[in-house]
């Protein structure tokens, strides 16, 4: 049985189509990523699956329960960490944990094994009010509260947004540990570099799923010749590439620009041409795509 089944979910807010006939499934124990920018419909999808909203069209089940008919059963077996900090700022760390435990009729001690690796990091601050915690600490507390009743499924809506690169990677390590314990997870993120931490991902944009696959398959099946280019003046290089007809699309990509070429290139020839246009110290080489390249290509195909 799939832990999450989504069939043709559609949700409108007035004239805005937030989610457009979205379908996918998540197997038991899978770590599934929803990857896309703001406005992709990620939060709406979480709210539908957490039974906080009803869809206009389509159906979904979580742990075999229907999101409309069996909403009470779903609420007992899922943990939900919303994108916005939603705990009680006036209660202490320990009080928040105890409160959520009481709601689900459990105790911290009962499920301590599951949350111990995370809780131990915030335990030194257990008497501090939640509102006074740093961002990273708040995030850990929210995760503890979402796990307190040992849910079968965990919904994590942008847990790493606005968090620095080191803390982000530590957070994903925590999720990998939870996966070892058999918890199914649906996680959303706008950071494409986090895709590789998931078993499978759905790339989403503007209410639609562009594609679903294992991250490695997505990059393996990328069939556009992709080149990395660099020169002393990167902005001039960008304009120089664009001034050559039929080269394809070129985007800044950090240290290099990425050229989504229409065909295989003779790098030497292109290099000569760009040198004539005044680009110095040129590097041009064929490269393997990243998830972000895949995303850009799919957006352009839309």
């Amino acid at each position: 049985m799939n832990m999450i089944e989504v069939n043709g979910l559609t949700k409108r807010y007035g004239n805005v189509l937030a989610l457009s006939a979205v379908s996918f499934s998540v197997a038991e124990g899978e770590l599934f990523g929803l990857i896309g920018p703001d406005g992709a419909g990620k939060t709406t999808l979480f709210r539908l699956l957490a039974t906080l909203l009803n869809a206009d069209e389509g159906t979904a089940t979580v742990n075999g329960f229907d999101v409309v008919k069996d909403y009470k059963s779903i609420r007992n077996c899922v943990g939900y960490m919303p994108g916005k900090f939603s705990l009680y700022p006036d209660l202490s760390v320990k009080e928040n944990v105890d409160f959520f435990a009481a709601l689900f009729g459990v105790t911290l001690e009962e499920n301590y094994d599951l949350i111990a690796p995370i809780y131990k990091q915030i335990e030194p601050f257990k008497d501090r009010r939640a509102g006074k915690l740093s961002g990273g600490m708040k995030q850990k507390l929210a995760l503890c509260c979402a796990l307190i009743h040992k849910p079968k499924v965990l919904f994590l809506d942008e847990p790493t947004t606005g968090v620095d690169a080191v803390s982000r990677s530590e957070f994903w390590d925590m999720l990998s540990n939870l996966k070892q314990k058999g918890i199914t997870m649906l996680v959303s993120t706008p950071y494409m570099d986090e895709a590789s931490r998931c078993d499978r991902i759905a790339l989403c944009n503007e209410g639609k799923i562009l594609c679903i696959d294992a991250p490695a398959n997505l990059t393996k099946n990328f069939d556009t010749p992709l080149y990395a280019l660099a020169a002393d003046d990167m902005f001039a290089l960008l304009n120089a590439v664009r001034s050559i007809p039929n080269m394809g699309d070129v985007y800044p990509f950090g240290e290099f620009h990425h050229l989504f070429s229409h065909s295989e290139l003779d790098c030497g020839k292109v290099s000569d041409e760009l040198s004539k246009k005044g680009c110095n110290n040129l590097t041009i080489k064929k490269i393997e795509p990243t998830i972000e390249d895949v995303f850009i290509k799919l957006m352009n195909n839309e």
Binding site: G36, P37, D38, G39, S134, G135, G136, M137, T161, G162, V163, D164, A165, V166, S167, S169, P190, Y191, M192, N205, E206, M234, F235, L238, Y251, P252, F253, G254, E255, E292, F295, I296, M299, N300
Partner: protein, 246 residues
């Protein structure tokens, strides 16, 4: 013209016994794209608020666009541009009305206002959306309009606080082209970001750890200095040295 647009010496900010910014000193030259990086809680926002005339330093001195950050905060505010991810335009005003409002706040004449707005709309190729309510625009467009609004009064320097958070990958790149363009026209850019690929676009990058600037150089030199391949690795190496937990 050759004097730095930002000059800071031993800048400190303490909140009770907590030193958020600890004796930082640096210069930013005119026309640079200056990346201001650091882990959460390293002191970036506090430092940036002092530079923008929004917070008074505990000690140390500095100038921004030729004005003293201790005594001329108001002048600084009128000579810089500022945009953050959280800074929002007015959703129930149109693109044009938002631009006109900010032009008014910055004291542009009627003629300057109209000319400046026309230029910005043309640069964004957005003239057709002039009368669209900002609330109806996709986030990526809002961010591009916000950047235009922040530079409407042609500031010598513009401060961008995580301008591309949550934006789709194509728009994120279009946004950086706006930055490149502004810099090519002589505007100094002071920018923070959590995307390490964006650090590569900067002329120079500073990295704050526990209130201090622990590294400051071009991306190329920083990578050499730490013997690593990417700015991500430079950042990770430094951020792991942090002792304080935000």
């Amino acid at each position: 013209m050759n004097e730095p647009i930002i000059h800071v010496e031993n800048l400190c900010k303490k909140f009770d016994d907590f030193t958020a910014v600890n004796q930082i000193s640096f210069d930013v030259s005119r026309g640079e794209i200056f990346g201001f990086l650091g882990a959460n809680g390293a002191g970036k926002t506090t430092a940036m608020r002092m530079l923008c005339g929004l917070s008074f330093p505990t000690s140390g001195m500095g100038t921004v666009a030729g004005f003293n950050i201790r005594t001329e905060g108001e002048k600084i505010k009128s000579h810089i541009g500022y945009m953050s991810q959280r800074f929002s335009l007015y959703d129930d005003l149109t693109v044009f009305e938002n631009m006109k409002l900010y032009a008014g706040i910055y004291g542009l004449s009627r003629q300057q206002t109209l000319q400046s707005i026309d230029e910005k709309l043309e640069q964004l190729q957005f003239a057709s959306e002039k009368n669209t309510l900002v609330g109806a625009l996709p986030l990526g467009w809002k961010q591009k309009v916000a950047f235009s609004v922040a530079t409407l009064h042609r500031p010598e320097i513009v401060f961008l606080d995580e301008p591309t958070g949550g934006v789709d990958p194509i728009t994120r790149r279009q946004f950086w082209e706006l930055i490149y363009n502004a810099a090519a026209n002589g505007t100094t850019i002071f920018v923070t970001t959590h995307y390490m690929d964006e650090a590569e676009y900067c002329s120079r990058v500073s990295i704050m750890v526990d209130g201090k600037i622990e590294a400051l150089d071009s991306p190329k030199k920083l990578k050499e200095q730490f013997s690593v391949q990417s700015m991500d690795e430079v950042f990770r190496t430094l951020a792991r040295r942090a002792k304080r937990t935000e």
